[in-house]
């Protein structure tokens, strides 16, 4: 299992090659890249930041869970931080498995789960301003802000 956070460009090809072993029948990869717009608004770059120690622990935990849950042989997950420009890889997930079905499923589950729980944020710089991207709401089990301390006005 290879799990990392980096500030350097991610070499997707090298990661996938490095993962392969004789027992594998498939390597399925998800390469998340910076798109040139959000809802039509032109993006110049993204700045990613993380709660790094926790993010790494979360990523390790999810990769290990994916191996057990889907019965795949090995996984590499690398997330990049710092300033990324259009077309650059922000996250690479590669899953090696004897059979393709499990590899596809594990890869999909990993990116979907990671996006909801791993503490990484991005700020989007547009031509006409910058905003912190709206994250998806946390799964209910981990959002105490929603329930804590009652005198909220709604």
């Amino acid at each position: 299992m290879q799990v990392a956070i980096t500030r350097e460009p991610i070499d997707a090809k090298a990661l996938m090659e490095g993962l392969k072993a004789g027992a594998d029948g498939a390597v399925c990869a998800f390469d998340g890249i910076v798109r040139d717009n959000t809802r039509g608004r032109r993006t110049l770059h993204l700045d990613y930041e993380a709660y790094e120690e926790m993010a790494l622990e979360q990523m390790r935990g999810l990769a290990a869970e994916a191996i057990t849950r889907f019965g795949v042989r090995d996984i590499a997950v690398v997330h990049r931080l710092g300033r990324l420009f259009v077309g650059e890889t922000s996250i690479l997930i590669a899953v090696a498995s004897a059979h393709r079905g499990a590899a596809f499923d594990a890869c999909r589950w990993l990116i979907d789960t990671l996006k909801k729980t791993v503490p990484i944020w991005k700020k989007e710089q547009f031509e006409d301003g910058a905003v912190w991207a709206d994250g998806e709401p946390f799964p209910e089990a981990i959002a105490p802000g929603a329930t804590a301390s009652g005198s909220a006005d709604r």
Binding site: P119, K122, P144, G145
Partner: protein, 86 residues
Amino acid sequence: MRVRVLLFGVLTERLGGKERVVELAEQATVADVVAWARGLRLEEGLVRSLAVAVNREYAQTETRLSDGDEVALLPPVSGGCRGRAV
């Protein structure tokens, strides 16, 4: 007791900084840190969206704190690739 409160994403801009030291009563819980954040005039919607980690693990409202704990206030995360398609 004193805890270190770590701030991320939009919170660093709203509150001007990445870290605060917060004084809490003995036997304080995560709920007290959320109440502290609420007292800083953050929008209620933002406070409600936060998750809290204590010493790098997601914690519940009732999780008890200890002196010296590292408490992180986490806005909804947006790592990986792009968010919603719409």
